[in-house]
Amino acid sequence: MSEARPGAAEIARRVAARETSAEAVTREHLDRIAERDAGLEAFLTVTADRALAQAKRVDAAIAGGAAPGPLAGVPVAVKDLLDIEGVATTCGSRILEGYRPPFTATAVARLEAAGAIVVGKTNMDEFAMGSSTENSAYKVTRNPWDRARVPGGSSGGSAVAVSTGMAALALGTDTGGSIRQPAALCGIVGLKPTYGRVSRYGVVAFASSLDQVGPLGRTVEDVALAARAICGIDTADATSAPVEVPDFRAALAAGAAGLRVGVPWSFLEKGVDAGVMAAFRRALSDLEAAGARTVEVTLPHAPHAVATYYIVATAEASSNLARFDGVRYGLRVPAADLQGMYGETRDRGFGAEVKRRIILGTFVLSAGYYDAYYLRAQQVRTLIRRDFEGAFRQCEVVAMPTTPTPAFRIGEKTADPLQMYLEDIFTVPANLAGIPGLSLPGGFVDGLPVGIQLLGRPFDEATLLRIGHAYQQQTKHHLQEPPENSDSLG
């Protein structure tokens, strides 16, 4: 990491050693947001006063002799669907404009307990539905490597905040790739933990059987520190798992020697950009140079993952989003009677993609179609999970590109929802199977970052992070920084 842009681990070390203060680090990052975010539009809310107050508390505790937290003074950006008491949560939607939640998400509370400083809430596709951050009701976030292109989504604001140094870490959520895909397209690291690893308490639900909170950072070491802070059982989320959380950073030193990396070659035969494929092959060579061994695996049902995902996720979303009805919070459009108020509020409050998914999800759950679509998709989900169980008998991790192409142009796919959904082909299988996934900066194609994805056994994030760290010792892709002034490359 360059001197000018220390990462989370280095910031925490300097704050703990009293070489700098949490307040000074926070001010630097707030200044950088003020200077850098115009034109990129990563943030929906900058929580400057709250951040400085929090930083002063961290500094006072250290001055008073308290042991510094593992993330002491580290500025973090939080996707705008994780609640923070008293701070607006919009989910990128008009229907929640002005809403201030009365509680704080467990993942955010745990980061703050570790000494982290929340500098703001980041832009996202409305209710996390999208792969480009173009579906926000508020603004379009731009890719810092080329402002004519999307940053990915739905956690696009979080990825941009980290890749440009406006925050050292960020939280995102990943229902079908929404952490890994923007991390890939912005040239940073993103981890989707195992389903059940991180509490979903205080996280606005999209598809409850798929949603998972995770960190984005510039190095695997930074992401390991954040993961250690946020993972672990929480009685406020009945799906959170009573599985021990290892010291992920301590596990990094073990390296990649002797680990087997499975490659599902037949799944990668079609539709992958030639430059992305070349970067992926180079990454496999780099992993071999780090001591890992590649083996071929098969995921016979993975080509059906997008179809399966868009049935399961929209069905769950249509149910979850029933709560936005103009009664308890958010927008209400007045009407003469209750049914009219529901319909008008939801029509005015939701954007096109959210409505499209509510309609699709309601359709696949409706009488006459439930068995053919929803039930069958749940069965195919079982087949996809079994594919991974088979693969993990031959290897510790499965590798594939994170996305089939580098960042696409703003507006390029908005008219064709199916083309946008197909962007998720390599990320949705992990959510359906409930397994962890890590996206790593894997080089560049025509100046645009591409991601290498590693998928692991349930609750074995440690091995993903180990291999990812070994890869970052072999490569320098993660040290590249986007240009300070990135107009379109043409």
Binding site: Y99, R100, P101, P102, F103, Y195, G196, S209, I233, A238, T239, S240, A241, P242, H301, P303, H304, V306, I311, S318, A322, D325, G326, V327, R328, Y329, G330, L331, P334, A335, A336, D337, G340, M341, G343, R346, D347, A352, R356, I358, I359, L360, T362, F363, S366, A372, Y373, L375, R376, A377, Q378, Q379, V380, T382, P417, L418, Y421, L432, A433, G434
Partner: protein, 96 residues
């Protein structure tokens, strides 16, 4: 499967309590038809005897069933568009 029509979208929109514009109804019918045609691929798979997977949770975590403090009523009502006497207020439910 028969193609998705505007009437299908209307029926589903009623179930989902969504009022849609004419343009939305037509666009959604066309786009849903396209997405469902793509999703036809899963109909050809043999799923005989395959258990449906409703979630990936390996565990269910239950806390002790003991009373504990919850959100105060004022906090729960604070974000409501309309509240009165500690209750959420809504427009008329039955036709007048």
């Amino acid at each position: 499967m028969p193609p998705v029509t505007v009437e299908t979208v209307d029926h589903v929109a009623r179930l989902a309590r969504l009022s849609l514009t004419a343009e939305e109804r037509e666009a959604f019918a066309r786009q849903l038809d396209q997405v469902l045609a793509y999703a036809e691929s899963i109909q050809a798979l043999d799923t005989t005897g395959v258990e449906p997977m409703s979630h990936a949770a390996a565990h269910e975590t239950f806390r002790e069933d003991v009373p504990r403090p919850c959100l105060p009523r004022e906090a729960a009502l604070a974000a409501a568009p309309d509240a009165e006497d500690g209750l959420f207020r809504v427009p008329r439910v039955l036709g007048g």
